[in-house]
């Protein structure tokens, strides 16, 4: 009986689990400690400086593809933000495009039209079975073999397609344009209230209103009306060949377009399969019941099938979004100035601070991914069944 406390240590489930967990945590902490100590020791022994002071040093190189102003005199910290913004730019636009394309293809895959269905099938099987890096390089190679600047393809009068990008006029907003912008915002807020009101009215009276058309008209025509009232406060800067390149206007660089096409076409194939599985997961009886009620086929899709399919679609869709964001780091292959290429590549090389920079880059991707997960989880909650039905 005196050995009881010792026996308890080993055989009492609760106590045993506590000390085993403590041991594992302790071992892990020890491992982390050892690795970091060894690294620090080796770095010091090899005379490699450490620390984060380099962030305040001037970068010394230029980044031409940037959403914020950047020159070689700016700091590495600013180069970091340029990279983050470029990564976000290609990820967000990529997610947007991939979602639209993926939903379209997913629905077409289930269409009764033999030709469409099989084209979609070939597209999905081809793109998702070829590594995305190759696809990005393929798109980029195609884009940089477009006509050269001097032989630019002109279309729609003011647009030029060249191997240095797609040039388009850029708007210059004059005094008074902010009223147009505000009217647009106000129109959107107004229509959301209008929608609620009309729905309510429909529920009471049973009369249907073409809510979509009414609201679209309001959102489109209000700003246009204000635009003319304010005396058209906008000008365009047109791209013109001057010297080596087009000057003025806006440009979509082939590096960006290559990334966007590669990522979104690749991810859309996966999304389409997710969408297809989601739609197929809705039981056949649902469709038959709604047909029996006399609903039109687009209503069946919009009101019955899609809301139920979304419950199945959203969780795997989230991981596709995460994949796309992480795959954007492949921009390094074609010189797209994303986070890994600029800050994680050039800054790393200029300063030699591999460990510090890789830590920063990894934490940044972690934050981006967790944010996407968080947003998608919030959205997921809104489409799930409420209550315990």
């Amino acid at each position: 009986m005196t050995s009881n406390p010792l026996r308890k240590l080993l055989f009492d489930e609760k106590i045993r689990s506590i000390w085993i967990q403590a041991l594992i945590v302790g071992l892990f902490a020890f491992l982390v400690y050892t690795v970091s100590q060894t690294t620090a020791y080796n770095l010091e022994k090899r005379g490699i400086g450490t620390g984060f002071e380099f962030l305040q040093m001037s970068a010394g190189y230029d980044i031409s593809f940037s959403l914020i102003d950047f020159t070689s005199k700016d700091t590495h910290l600013r180069a970091y933000f340029v990279g983050v913004l470029n990564t976000l730019l290609v990820s967000v636009t990529g997610i947007f495009l991939a979602t639209i394309l993926g939903f379209l293809v997913g629905v077409i895959r289930l269409s009764s039209n033999w030709l469409f269905r099989n084209i979609a099938y070939v597209y999905v099987e081809f793109t998702r079975n070829v590594p995305v890096l190759l696809q990005i390089i393929l798109w980029y190679s195609i884009l940089i073999h477009l006509p050269k600047v001097k032989q630019a393809v002109q279309f729609l009068e003011y647009f030029y397609l060249t191997n240095r990008g797609l040039y388009s006029p850029s708007p210059i907003f004059l005094e008074g344009f902010r009223f147009v912008a505000w009217s647009f915002v106000i129109a959107i807020i107004f229509t959301s209230f209008l929608k609620k009101y009309l729905k309510k009215k429909q529920n009471i009276t049973g009369n249907q209103y073409p809510i979509f058309y009414i609201n679209s008209a309001i959102i489109i025509f209000t700003p246009i009306l204000i635009f003319y009232i304010m005396g058209m406060p906008m000008e365009f800067s047109h791209p013109v060949i001057k010297g080596f390149n087009f000057q003025g206007g806006m440009v979509l660089r082939p590096e960006f377009m290559g990334m966007l096409l590669g990522l979104s076409i690749y991810t859309a194939a996966f999304i389409s399969e997710t969408v297809r599985s989601g739609i197929m997961a809705v039981s056949k009886g649902q469709r038959e019941a709604s047909q029996a009620l006399g609903l039109k086929s687009n209503f069946i899709m919009r009101l019955i099938i899609i809301p139920q399919a979304l419950r199945v679609i959203i969780p795997p869709l989230t991981s596709q979004y995460l994949n796309l964001t992480k795959n954007s780091s492949l921009g390094i292959a074609i010189g797209y100035s994303d986070l890994v290429h600029g800050f994680g590549g050039i800054s790393l090389n200029q300063t030699g601070k591999a460990i510090e920079i890789m830590l920063i880059v990894m934490v940044t991707y972690l934050i981006m991914s967790l944010t996407i997960s968080l947003l998608m989880n919030i959205y997921n909650r809104t489409v799930q069944f409420k209550g315990n039905a």
Binding site: L10, L27, F30, L31, T34, Q37, T38, Y41, N42, K45, R46, G47, I48, G49, G60, Y61, D62, I63, S64, T71, S72, K73, S141, I144, H145, K148, V149, N163, R164, K242, G243, F244, N245, Q247, P254, E255, I332, A333, G335, S337, H341, G345, I346, L348, N349, Q350, G352, A354
Partner: protein
């Protein structure tokens, strides 16, 4: 209990041991000798400097430095394993001990020498950054490049010089950053950029590989100093000395007219420095030659000159006027021939 305890102890031991291994490093020379071959960080592929030929054998003037070190250490210039490195990973590869030395057109700068924990041991090619444009553009000077799109290899001193050059001249440009030399060639020949800038030697090497080399001109401006040379990890001076003097032996070889063809005849030379270099003369009357100071055999320099040749042979074989690369000696001639190549005396 004892089982768990012994498990824990052994775990502790392995962790301790592995960290000890990671922390230790003996002399690089011993490491190389034990391994039986030299690991040399080379370029991923730059004609004339470091590129495998049709038989898969690495060739070039950077490669010749690796071969010289192998000849000095093993008496066999072929005992080298080449580890191709991009400009981005080269320093990490050297720092982490994956290679014993780096010989891949790397510019010697203060930061790299001091803060990155490297040790540059000499210069095997004096270079400078230049610009190449298609001849059809009709550009004759770099000062006419305002507004141009410029292809640059990232992770190099090039992009900093480029930024400095354009801002100093009040010009703007679009930077098209690429990862490797071959990607730069692809982007430049496709017309993605108007200008390709890198070290002039690299421009000549790239141009030699284009379908029509005469359609491209290298502009006269050289906008930077780029002393390219081999480097080793900081902290093992004995190893640094071996690499430094292997290169010096090649330069002294040229100065004294010793070639791979006449190296045996030169053993009968009357010049004491030649005799010291070839391991004929001894240090004073100790009975030992000049290898002892480097922990090498006395015929180490003889092996270099016999198997690799002197600097001029290496230059003419890989990048000289009789090769497709077609580079003049220029700065890289010996000091007595109007260049700045100069090795300390061998004594």
């Amino acid at each position: 209990m004892t089982k768990i305890k012994s498990l824990f102890v052994s775990l502790l031991l392995t962790l301790g041991v592995s960290s000890a291994i990671a922390g230790s490093h003996g002399s690089t020379l011993d490491l190389v000798k034990d391994r039986g071959f030299l690991k040399c960080g080379s370029n991923t592929g730059l004609a004339g400097f470091g590129l495998p030929n049709d038989d898969g054998v690495w060739e070039g003037i950077d490669v010749d430095v690796c071969r010289a070190v192998a000849a000095a250490v093993f008496g066999d210039a072929s005992k080298v394993e080449y580890v191709p490195t991009t400009s981005k990973v080269r320093f990490t590869v050297l720092q982490s001990g994956e290679v014993d030395m780096l010989s891949r057109n790397t510019t010697w700068t203060l930061q790299r020498d001091v803060e990155l924990g490297l040790e540059f041991v000499g210069v095997n090619y004096y270079d400078g950054q230049g610009f190449m444009v298609p001849a059809s553009l009709g550009v004759s000077s770099a000062s006419e490049l305002d507004g141009a799109s410029v292809c640059i290899q990232v992770g190099t001193t090039t992009e900093m010089n480029l930024a400095d050059f354009f801002s100093a001249n009040g010009m703007s440009y679009e930077a098209v950053p690429v990862e490797t030399n071959s990607e730069a060639d692809a982007a430049y020949t496709a017309g993605r950029c108007d200008v390709y800038t890198t070290d002039a030697s690299g421009l000549y090497a790239s141009r030699a590989g284009y379908p029509d080399p005469s359609a491209h001109v290298v502009l006269p401006e050289i906008v930077s100093k780029e002393p390219l040379g081999p480097s080793v990890r900081h902290g093992d001076s004995a190893w640094a000395d071996i690499v430094r003097w292997s290169l010096n032996a090649m330069i002294i070889g040229e100065e004294k007219g010793i070639t791979s063809a006449n190296v045996d005849e030169m053993k009968n030379s009357k010049d004491p420095e030649v005799l010291r270099l070839l391991g004929v003369n001894q240090v004073g009357d100790t009975g030992a030659g000049y290898g002892q100071w480097l922990n090498l055999s006395d015929d180490w320099a003889y092996n270099i000159l016999q198997q690799v040749g002197n600097y001029s042979e290496s230059f003419e074989r890989h990048i000289g006027p009789n090769t497709p690369i077609n580079i003049q000696r220029g700065l890289n001639a010996l000091y007595k021939d109007g260049g700045i190549l100069y090795a300390p005396p061998f004594r």
